[in-house]
């Protein structure tokens, strides 16, 4: 099949230009929704749009077909200008069955385009989705531009002579939907066609089938009277020049870890136990063995972190990652790393909690656990990723700090960052900042003095990271309180007091190296919005829109949460109000109130979903001083 022919084929239908479009695909977990969305995203990035995605899928792998529990969604925001979020509401919703409509209808704008697979609106499927009558014909969808397409039948028609089973035919229908929306938004089909070629290289019949169905979807848009116009979203013009790729938060995290290990000259040791949504980091890293990455799929969360600590003791870069309850299981071992003052990076891809909670949904409710959730006074460095592409820099920075300060660093990600994707400006590998592990690797460096495993670097307060296997450097560490300098066991009261203060001072010392905090907006004014983690995009967009409306509002994103940058208190004091939106029950707002004794206000919606620009604008306006 000639893909170029498709793209080049002159359409006889008019085109309307849009600045940005949000499209959402929804269907059964088995309908290939995530794949469909990812292919549309790749095609959008390829034509130069800025993109941001939000996959929204269930915890069940294959819940019974047609049920609400089994609905998988994928939202893409593609734009002709720089965008920061996957979009509040969809301009276009494609639903493969009644359950998908029922579950995702609330995300569709009024007057939005709704494309429904009419063949799936059977009485059985309607009943499973809780519909007493067929919504496609009873007028309940009048507020949308409804397009009923016989997706299943048309797919079957296109494949009539191929001798495929009805199940195989059914599995091709997502390509019909993809072909149709590719036509509708003038996407170039070459990437999809290449993917089909590669994916089905060993199954020529299925390759032929999917190509045909994709084309049938495209032709359907062009040839039926149903669709009168196409939409064009031009290439974005305000994106910084450079080389880009599309990347998810989990993949960017994995790449940041590998890059840091390469720059530090340390082998990366990654201990992990499978858990949603962190597992993809393990999957990526397991494939990077040529970079010396050792991945260890441990028997449990505790073993995963402990093995990473063991590897750090052995002078590798020890990293572990988890989600949800996994971070609770690791907390005792994190305390051991604090006590033994070894480099360790812990990635927490936050999900809805407590307990098992909402495994596939996003949340920011582990902040207080990250800061304080261990026995004893147990300070670690904590930083948070703000968007999928930002994960690379954060993971890199986490490793750099862990190595330089011999301290555990907790890197907070979340479900929406982990699975969301956006274009990433690819860094020049050679220009990445240096990381010097500065191992103590020779007894001669001691100049005849006895080895002091807990001697201190005056700048960082870090103890030496001692190379194992070197004669004269034999030493012992452990979880019992240590004398400073000698590292011997100590139960001495004054020493314990001093060591508690010292471990905190070590983390606090990191603040000295942090750049000044960058506020977006006026230096002082009516209201400052402070966010951490993934609400960055929605909050910043909301603030920029309100600034354009003449409001005196500014935005501050906190990457570092422990230590807090030294200038934060001063910045907060320059605004009449401070608003802290979070996807938790008010955690950073507590921290800021405690740290600066200021009347910061919180905004929370804890629904397993990103905060929207619209709700944040409303919240900001509500909090503006009269």
């Amino acid at each position: 099949m000639d893909g170029q022919g498709l793209a080049a084929a002159a359409s006889h239908k008019p085109t309307e230009t849009r600045e940005a479009v949000v499209i959402r695909f929804a269907g059964d977990s088995g309908d290939g929704i995530q794949l469909t969305g990812a292919q549309f995203t790749a095609a959008s990035a390829a034509v130069g749009n800025d993109t941001a995605t939000f996959p929204d899928f269930p915890a069940e792998i294959r819940a019974p077909a047609g049920t609400l529990a089994g609905v998988s969604g994928y939202q893409l925001h593609f734009s002709s200008r720089d965008i920061l979020t996957p979009g509040d509401r969809a301009d276009v919703l494609v639903v493969m069955n009644p359950a998908a409509l029922a579950a995702h209808r609330r995300w569709l704008q009024r007057n939005g385009v709704l494309i429904a697979n009419r063949d799936a609106f059977t009485s059985k499927n309607l009943a499973m989705a809780g519909y007493a009558a067929d919504p496609l014909s009873d007028g309940t969808l009048d507020e949308y531009q409804l397009f009923c397409v016989d997706l299943s039948r048309l797919t079957g028609d296109a494949l009539q002579d191929l001798g495929l089973s009805s199940k195989e035919v059914e599995r091709c229908k997502n390509y019909f939907a993809l072909g149709l929306v590719f036509w509708l938004f003038e996407r170039k089909p070459d990437l999809v066609l290449r993917e089909i070629d590669q994916k089905f290289a060993s199954k020529p019949i299925l390759r032929e089938a999917n190509l045909r169905v994709f084309r049938a979807g495209w032709d359907y848009g062009e040839n039926t009277e149903l669709f009168r116009i196409r939409y064009r979203v031009p290439a974005a013009s305000d994106i910084a020049p450079g080389r880009y790729r599309s990347i998810s938060g989990n993949e960017a995290t994995a790449l940041g870890l590998v890059a840091a290990s390469q720059k530090a000259g340390l082998a990366l040791f990654y201990g992990s136990y499978p858990i949603t949504p962190a597992s993809d980091i393990l999957h990526y890293l397991a494939g990077y063995k040529e970079f010396g990455v050792r991945t260890f799929q441990a028997e449990d969360e505790i073993a995963a972190v402990c093995a990473a600590i063991g590897a750090s003791f052995g002078n590798q870069l020890g990293v572990t990652a988890t989600s949800g309850p996994g971070i609770a299981l690791k907390s005792e071992a994190i305390g051991l790393a604090v006590m033994t003052e070894l480099p360790l990076v812990i990635v927490d891809v936050q999900r809805g909690g407590p307990s098992t909670g909402l495994p596939t949904k996003t949340e920011q409710a582990d902040l207080l656990q990250a800061l304080y959730g261990r026995n004893g006074e147990c300070p670690v460095a904590v930083l948070a990723i703000q968007s999928p592409a930002d994960a690379f820099a954060c993971a890199y920075e986490a490793c750099r700090i862990a190595v330089q300060y011999r301290v555990p660093v907790l890197l907070l990600s979340d479900g929406s960052i982990a699975n969301g994707a956006e274009p990433w400006r690819i860094p020049d590998a050679a220009a990445l900042p240096a990381i010097d592990p500065a191992l103590l690797d020779s007894a001669e460096a001691l100049n005849g003095e006895p080895l002091q495993p807990y001697a201190r670097d005056p700048e960082t307060l870090a103890r030496p990271w001692i190379k194992l296997g070197v004669a004269g450097l034999e030493h012992r560490i452990g979880g019992i309180e240590k004398w400073d300098k000698t590292g011997h066991i100590s139960y001495d009261a004054a020493n314990h007091h001093a060591m508690v203060k010292l471990r905190q001072a070590k983390v606090d010392a990191i603040a000295k190296t942090l750049p000044p905090s960058a506020v977006t907006g006026p230096d002082s004014g009516d209201l400052l919005v402070v966010t951490w983690g993934s609400p960055w995009g929605s909050a910043l967009t909301a603030v920029l829109e309100l600034q354009a409306e003449g409001k005196s509002v500014a935005h501050l994103q906190l990457r570092w949460l422990s230590p807090l940058p030294a200038d934060v208190g001063d910045i907060l004091g320059r605004y009449k109000r401070v608003l802290v939106p979070e996807i938790n029950n008010g955690q950073l707002v507590k921290v800021l109130r405690a740290a600066y004794a200021m009347d910061c206000q919180g905004y929370q919606r804890i629904a397993g979903q990103p905060l929207t620009v619209g709700e944040l604008k409303a919240a900001i306006v509500e909090h503006l001083p009269a």
Binding site: K289, E299, A303, A429, L468, G478
Partner: protein
Amino acid sequence: MTAPAPVALKPKDFQTDQDVRWCPGCGDYAILAAVQRALAKQGVPGHLIATVAGIGCSSRFPYYMNTFGFHSIHGRAPAIATGLKIARPDLQIWMATGDGDSLSIGGNHFIHLLRRNVDIKVLLFNNRIYGLTKGQYSPTSEFGKKTKSTPYGSVDHPFKPAAVAVGAEAGFVGRFIDVDAKVGAEVLAAAAAYKGTAFIEIYQNCNIFNDGAWDHLAVKEVRAEQTILLEHGQPMLFGANRDKGVRLVGTRPQVFQLGHDGLGIGDAWVHDAHDADPVRAFLLARMEGPEFPTPMGVLRSVQRPAYDELINAQVAEVAARKPADLQKLLDGPHPWLVG
């Protein structure tokens, strides 16, 4: 990795300047001395050895060994040692643990260490009691045992550690009594030479909270009658006069008197430590008094590839045929240019 040539060492080369803080009369002293003697004999210097431990009396071991040492957290020594061994296959790793540390709180890590066959020597000090927490029953305490936490007697069925080890696919299982320096030296030497997880159960006396727990085997007068020293390829004979044997009737061990009922040395079970089938090792691991003599020595020594070698070989194999191009990795398959 080729082993370095042995060097001349003395047990005191493995002693540290730390005050040993076990109770006077504790069986741990004898074990520490036995390990230091074994390491000296082996000839691997302390800087090429790491000692890793969990929590408990036995787990203070690393402080008293002039090697690299890590005294970690309760039950987790196998996981820490696994990470360390993967990172540093050049180091010989000894792990000190106890019945509570390995079979209770760390049970999961313990079985997975054995299953993976990480090249680590495991010294399990079995005193059948919680010592450091002052006298609660442990997962190896006998049924009915009265302790601080079981004033009416324990209703917990105990583990047989060696049987757990065999069940978890252990390739090497050895056993000795703290007071038996001779057998201890043999078992420790065999464990030191073994490539893979070498599990050693040491019957250790806690003279404070469970004094005499192993007296029925340990005291000189009964040891020959109540234990049997296993030797590979040799018939299983025991008794002060070596007048008793163990034979296998089907899959059931049976004790017999030499010369009685027409049974002689030729009827005795010949110990095969290298038997790949774990069934007989499991029978040995479960044998105990009063019906049977308790086996000492090397119950099982079967080689299979060590996990740390496999994981590092895989990395080396991939690295040899795929260039590590960081820029290419960052670029991904479909980069595009803006501006």
